[in-house]
Chain length 344, copies 2
């Protein structure tokens, strides 16, 4: 690398703060929280070889490292203010640093969110481990008491999701096959091209999250798949949920790939329900809010889909009932596709 | 390891928040900043094999990981509010987790500072690299406009330091020799026992930092040695500085070790000036504040020592003039001890 820590920070990670009072360069950064607001904080650590490929494009990596944190702020209904970045760096090139910080700071500017501090250190690497570790802690603000938490879902509420589900999971599965040397079919290659940005450049639903304050009763962002993530809401809200699989919002590329491969639709559901990296919002809202949500969806420009409803807790542990008109008994058994590999 | 991320967080890193509105368990944590205050933020990443020994005691590691961040808050005059913790974990035992979180949360309680969120992930490790990475982002609050920044030093101001300097550096040098198989002399072994807590369990000068608001004109914490760190103040404040080496505060164990080994005093100065990990505060203050500082030192219970003064900038780059009555020309040349190894 050859560059000293201070040079790296000065060259690639210092931009004049848009709203913070004091940015990079002192013992601490300083920012203000608007009166009557709470500060919201979230933190994510990404490890090379675990959360991303060693050789992923540095620009998309910079984008995604910040995007996943802004998605957490969105999921509370918070407005981004700033973030800190810590990097354990292997011997990377200046070109890599320029791309990484470019992707990162572009997204930051888009959301008026300042890089206000952090830490840069040389990592300990070995042949099979390049040692890159990225940690971002993001700060936002939300009017006091208006944050949309996981524990507010009430029996009878609708369950909603934004955008489409399963795109990133499908892209990842195709990418893994391609990297292992397999030749993809034309349909698969087309699907990968269409869906890859959903895996590598997710756009956090910040405006939607803020617009849902006072409308949604509970919310989280989908990072590990709806099937698992919705249980966090149920756990916090002490309820169960019914999901209508026929209603799950699927993108055209994902649906088309299933049709081409003559797979039953639930192969796409598996991506939509158990795949990670959606970074869509999942929220509950009273039935009385349906008209408001229809208008809000158009205003924010993000499709919203009603996929289920909150029901009374039956047992000890949170339970999700998966329904489908296309299934003989009207019920889908998750175990049917657990462990099934669509692409093998 | 065998434990799932959620279990680890629940078992070891969840304690009811003392002051935050919402702690671990949602997409974000929530806390309030007192009206009329700014939020101060700092972040530090520690990598095993670079910042600490693989086999360091987990309890002291947990303590130190938080202490270095609280020291940054102290250096702004900020009061700690909370922190997030991100861990990339190799296959560590539950005993390790219990010790690490114990050391961490003990210190957190002492400063009324909540662990309110973070991330736990499995690291990518190899034989020569156990892969443990720790990132803490700490935030505090300070009355708006009262933060003590690096850019406030004025020509004529005194330069002060808290506590004693060089203890951690001396302990580290002795420890490295011991680990390499050398047998320490009795004097050295005694010095190591006395100074080791200064290396492994530094106590951040939080109360002192806050008490210096309105008194100090600039401040930072000493993590890389006074000789290097003071240049950050000079850079930001556009000034030079004269340091009186004879005035440097040295602990008895450090002085005694030098006497026993019949080393000239400047061997101890080298530790005091170029060694890291002091976590003392270095600040400037107008001459008119000397009496206030004498009283404040007694009130807070931390020794303060006047070690120099701020002078007009002479050249382009910041310059430090090292003075000593014991030196023939009254000047000490840093280059004399650059690269010199006290212990070899």
């Amino acid at each position: 690398m050859g560059m000293h820590e201070f040079q790296i920070i000065q060259s690639y990670f210092t931009s004049p703060p848009l709203r913070a009072d004091l940015g990079v360069g002192d013992d601490c950064a300083l920012f203000r929280v608007t009166q009557g607001h709470q500060c919201a904080v979230t933190s994510d650590m990404l490890v090379a070889g675990r959360h991303f490929f060693w050789d992923v494009d540095a620009r998309t990596l910079g984008h995604k490292a910040l995007a996943v944190n802004l998605s957490d702020l969105a999921a509370m209904g918070a407005e981004p203010l700033g973030f800190t970045l810590s990097l354990a760096l292997p011997a990377v090139s200046e070109a890599w640093l320029a791309d990484f910080s470019g992707g990162l700071l572009n997204l930051a500017r888009e959301f008026n969110c300042d890089l206000i501090g952090g830490d840069t250190t040389k990592s300990v690497a070995s042949l099979e481990h390049n040692g890159l570790v990225i940690n971002i802690t993001a700060f936002g603000q939300v009017p006091a008491g208006a944050a949309i938490r996981r524990d507010g879902a009430r029996v009878g509420d609708d369950v909603w999701v934004s955008g489409t589900l399963g795109d990133a999971a499908c892209a990842l599965a195709l990418l893994l096959r391609e990297r292992s040397g397999e030749v993809l079919s034309v349909a698969e290659a087309l699907a990968l091209t269409a869906l890859r940005p959903r895996l590598e450049c997710p756009m956090p639903r910040v405006a939607l999250g803020a617009a849902l304050r006072g409308v949604a009763s509970s919310m989280l962002d989908l990072s590990d798949g709806l099937a698992g993530d919705v249980r966090h809401v149920l756990q916090a809200s002490n309820a169960d949920v019914e999901i209508d699989c026929d209603a799950l919002p699927l993108s055209s590329p994902l649906k088309n790939l299933n049709l081409e491969q003559e797979c039953p639709l639930w192969h796409a559901w598996r991506d939509a329900l158990t795949g990670g990296d959606d970074y869509e919002l999942c929220f509950t809202a009273p039935v009385t809010q349906r008209d408001v949500l229809a208008a809000l969806s158009i205003h924010v420009g993000v499709p919203l889909t009603r996929v289920g409803r909150v029901v009374e807790r039956e047992g000890e542990a949170p339970n999700v009932l998966w329904r489908s008109e296309n299934s003989p008994e009207g019920l889908v058994h998750m175990s049917e596709w657990r462990g099934y590999n669509h692409f093998s």
